[in-house]
Every structure is written in structure tokens, then in C-alpha cells.
Amino acid sequence: MTILRPTFLRLRAMSLRILPGHAWGKVRALGPTAQGLGLVLAVLAVVGPVLPVAIFVLLILFMIYATWAYSINLITGMTGYVSFGHVVFVGTGGYALGYGVKVWNIAPFAGVALGGVLGAVLALVIGVVTLRLRGAYFAIATLVTPLAAFYIVSGTPALGDGSGLPMNLGFQIGSQYYTIWALLAAEVALTWWVTRGRLGLGIRALREDEDAARAVGISVSRVKLILYILSGGFAGAAGAVFAWYVSGVFPDSFNLLFSLTMLAMIIIGGMGTVLGPMLGAVIVLIPHQILIRILPQGEPIAIGVSVILIALFLPGGIVGTIRQYVPDARRYFE
């Protein structure tokens, strides 16, 4: 029982005792995963600005990736619908910000909001048609959307033809940091909420067997569509932050490798869990920063091998596997 209790949990417990009694009781009732993620997010919010700029900048990128991981988790993790084309929302969000900033002169925050809205609307349009398809058919239908989007933006003069929309927004890392922090925090809270209680039970049932879920009164189509819209909205908003971060948006924002990275993060971390996407983002992104200088292909190969092994032998990912084999640790993931 004690082996898996990290010391930071105890430290946190002490530091939070300064809260009034009833508030502490509420925090305790959230469960260890929510407490841990809440603590991580709180620490990120507080210590971010005092970190060296190099690390601060990396943290922005990390949070962008984590937001994407939670985003694809909302649909693929929760319902089992493998979305190979999730990057279409990333590129759409990026182009929304790019176009808004360049043509309408809107503030980047507004661009992020616009990216989120457009991502959600696009998810609604794609989802209405494709969420009726199952398994590989859904994967294929979503796979073609970023490919088509790539060609469309490459051939649209208003979107810079093939050369994209470079921007000159200056060095705004503080605003970027807190924007993506707010998105990530909101998304983690949302993920936590939809895995709880009755709604969480309903979503698990849907993932297990869609027909049976319908037969016991779950509004399967609506639940799937709402999750997909939320997922597209967050991916779009984070895609807009990414365009802001790299000061431009290019057709390569629709590169399928982004989709595959997102998917790899939740497969490795644990699909449909609250902690999994965060773990997956850490595991995928940290070696990325180290290996990219030594052997750029080493990291995707390592990710690919991990995805193969996990899919074939440990389908629950890290979180699911620990839950299964270390029952004592289970409550830390609830």
C-alpha cells in the first residue's frame, strides 16, 4: 500500500491544511488523481514566470501537447472511436488565429477563441456524418479530412497558398503561457467531470457496447457528438495557441504526424483516463526534447515501438495496466 504513495502527496497534504476545514474536506473528496493534477496545474501557474525563459518556453509547448492529448482522449479515449484525423482541428484553429490576426487585426486571445469555436463547429459538421460509422470506417473518414484540408489551404490565396500565414506578434510568452494553462486546466477539469458518477458510468457503457447502451436508454449519438465537439473545440483552441507560439501557420499544421503523436500519447498513458493523457504527454515530449538533438528519428521510433507493444500486450496503457495489476494502487487513479 505504501510503496506507491509518492512523498509529494504528503507534502501537499501539509501545505493544503492552511485551507479552512470544510474546503479541505471538499478537496479530499476529489480523489488523489484530481488532487495531484490540481497541484501540478497550481504549481505550473505559480512558478512559471520565475523559471528560466528556456524552460518556460518548453512548458508552453508541453501544455499545448497535453491539451491535444486530453482533446483526443475526449473522443477516442472515452468512446473508442479512433480519430486518425484529429490534426484537422489543430490546423483549423491555427488558420483561424492567423487569418483573424492578419486580416481582421484581432488580438491573439480573440484568435484563440475563434480557433476554439471553429474547431467545435468543424467537429459538429464532421461528427454528424462520421460518428455513425464504426471502427476502421470512422478512422478512415476522419483520416481524409486533414489531407483534404492540407490541399485546400495550399490552394487558397486568402490563406497564403502553400506558404501559409506568417505573423509578427512579438514575444508574448507570458500571455501564451496563461492562455494555454487556462485551456489545459479547463480540459482536465472537464475530463475529470465526465469520468465521474452517472455520466462516467454511461460513457463507459457506451464504450463497451454501443447497441446495448442505446437499449438501456443512453442517448448514444448525442453523447458521442457532444464529446467530439468539445474535443474539436479544445484541439482548435490549442492549435491557435500553437500558431501564436510559432508566430505563423502553415499547411504543415495539417501534418498527420501530429495526429499520430496525439494518439500515441493517450495510448501510452491510458485511454479514457484522467491521468493518462498527462503521463502520455510527459513521456512523449521529454525524450523528444533530448533526442531531437542526437537522433531526431529515435524518438518517434521509440514511440512507435511502445504503441505496438502497448496495443498488443497492455491495452490499458500505463494507467489502465497499473489499475489492473496493482489493485491497491487503484484508488490513486480514481
Binding site: R198, A215, V216, G217
Partner: protein, 249 residues
């Protein structure tokens, strides 16, 4: 006042094939209607129309006078008509108790309600279908008979006033059929639902149903008490053939 489930003039065509041709039925809550007929006579299609899984080409399904055939499947369940699958479809990664809890949570008229009675309701259903000892097992670990009971229990847990049972007794040994019929009758007496039972196991239908509807090639060819139906010459010829003498009481 007892509820009433009725289907009027149901026609269902698939392309050029007419699967159901002007079929009507009605039953009150608390009664059991048996639905029999040779393979391909449209029994399963009729159940699918009643449960909202398929829309009829023409005709309508009414629950207490309210039309339900245009509602999506999950709304039909919430309105009070639940179906069990011929091959049970439990949620394999959920425990038996959770399976029933999902149905009790979402199937009722007020889904997501925070009713304090929910846990008791779930325990009651587990007791009724004799799955209490298996409550914490994963549904994937159940035997075929247990899965069928779970399927039944889950339909009950939706709070439905009418159950549509698709070949619940198929694939069971004679002992298991006898036992399952007993469970069904006891639960029906206690809960008082109405049921449409599609069944190949003739003895089961004849002992359960107050009335029987016979389908042949999509048309209703006879309706009546089990005794009347098995003596009907048309039915004997169309469906029962020479076996009729074996099933007549």
C-alpha cells in the same frame, strides 16, 4: 389505469421485400403476448419496430395512445419499452451490478436522476434475477444462462412497463429453460410488466403467454389463446406441421 402497448397496421419493406404486411397487435401491462412463426416470418423485425430500432414503412406504434415509432431508440426505452437481445450484449468490462446500475440510471423517465432509491432498486433487481452472488463479477465472466438473466435484469432496471424478449430461452438446456421460465413468471408476478415474447421453444411460449400471435411471411395469420392457436388449422399447416400434436395440451 394499466398501460397499453399497441401497434397498428405495421408495414415494413426492405427494398422490394415486404417483411411485415399490415400487422397489428395490442397488449395491456401485466399480460404476455407470445409471437411465433417460422424463420423469416418477420418476428424479429416486428420487435425491432416495436423497440424503435427500426422505423416502420407505414403504420404506428403507440404507448398509452402516444406515438413512439418516430422516437430514437433510447427515447423509446425511456418511455417504457425495453428490448432484450437474442444474443445477450452485456457490458463485458463492467460488473454485473454496474450493468444493472447503468440501466437503472439512464433507462428511467428522468435520466441522471439522483434518486436515493437507486441502489435499493439495483439490489432488488439483482435479487429478482438471482444474480446477487455474482454482483461483483465482470459481466464477461458469466455463463450463457447468467448473461441472459443479466440481459433480462437490465431491461427490468430501465423501469420499462413493456419488455420485448427476443428468443430468451434459445440455446438453453431443458432444465435451464424450466428454471428460466420460473424466474420469468415470478418476476412478472412481482413487477407486473407486459411482455412480447418471441420464442422458438414452444412449451415456454405456451406456458408464459396469455395470448399468441402467429406470423407467416410478414402477415398475422392467427391470434388467440395458446389453446386456440395450436388448434387453428391454418397455423398447423403453416407453421407447426406434424409436430402440432406434440405441443397441444
Amino acid at each position: 389505469m394499466t398501460a397499453r402497448l399497441a401497434a397498428k397496421g405495421i408495414v415494413k419493406r426492405f427494398g422490394g421485400v415486404t417483411a411485415l404486411d399490415d400487422v397489428s397487435l395490442a397488449l395491456d401491462q401485466g399480460t404476455v403476448l407470445g409471437l411465433i412463426g417460422p424463420n423469416g416470418s418477420g418476428k424479429t423485425t416486428l420487435l425491432n419496430v416495436l423497440s424503435g430500432t427500426m422505423r416502420p414503412t407505414s403504420g404506428g406504434v403507440f404507448l398509452d395512445g402516444q406515438r413512439i415509432d418516430r422516437l430514437p431508440g433510447y427515447r423509446v426505452v425511456r418511455a417504457g419499452v425495453a428490448k432484450t437481445h437474442q444474443i445477450p450484449k452485456p457490458f463485458p468490462g463492467l460488473t454485473v451490478r454496474e450493468n444493472v446500475l447503468v440501466a437503472a440510471t439512464f433507462g428511467g423517465r428522468a435520466p441522471m436522476r439522483e434518486g436515493a432509491d437507486l441502489p435499493e432498486q439495483v439490489e432488488r433487481i439483482l435479487r429478482l434475477v438471482e444474480l446477487e452472488p455474482r454482483a461483483h463479477a465482470f459481466a464477461s465472466a458469466l455463463t450463457v444462462q447468467e448473461k441472459k438473466r443479466l440481459e433480462f435484469g437490465r431491461a427490468l432496471a430501465t423501469g420499462a412497463r413493456f419488455l420485448l424478449l427476443d428468443e430468451t430461452f434459445a440455446g438453453l438446456s431443458p432444465d435451464e429453460v424450466r428454471n428460466s421460465v420460473e424466474v420469468f413468471q415470478r418476476v412478472q408476478a412481482e413487477v407486473g410488466f407486459g411482455a412480447v415474447v418471441v420464442e422458438h421453444v414452444m412449451r415456454a411460449v405456451l406456458s408464459l403467454a396469455q395470448r399468441v400471435l402467429v406470423l407467416e411471411e410478414g402477415r398475422a395469420i392467427a391470434e388467440g389463446t395458446p389453446q386456440e392457436v395450436v388448434r387453428d388449422p391454418g397455423v398447423i399447416e403453416a407453421y407447426l406441421g406434424s409436430e402440432a400434436t406434440n405441443v397441444a395440451p
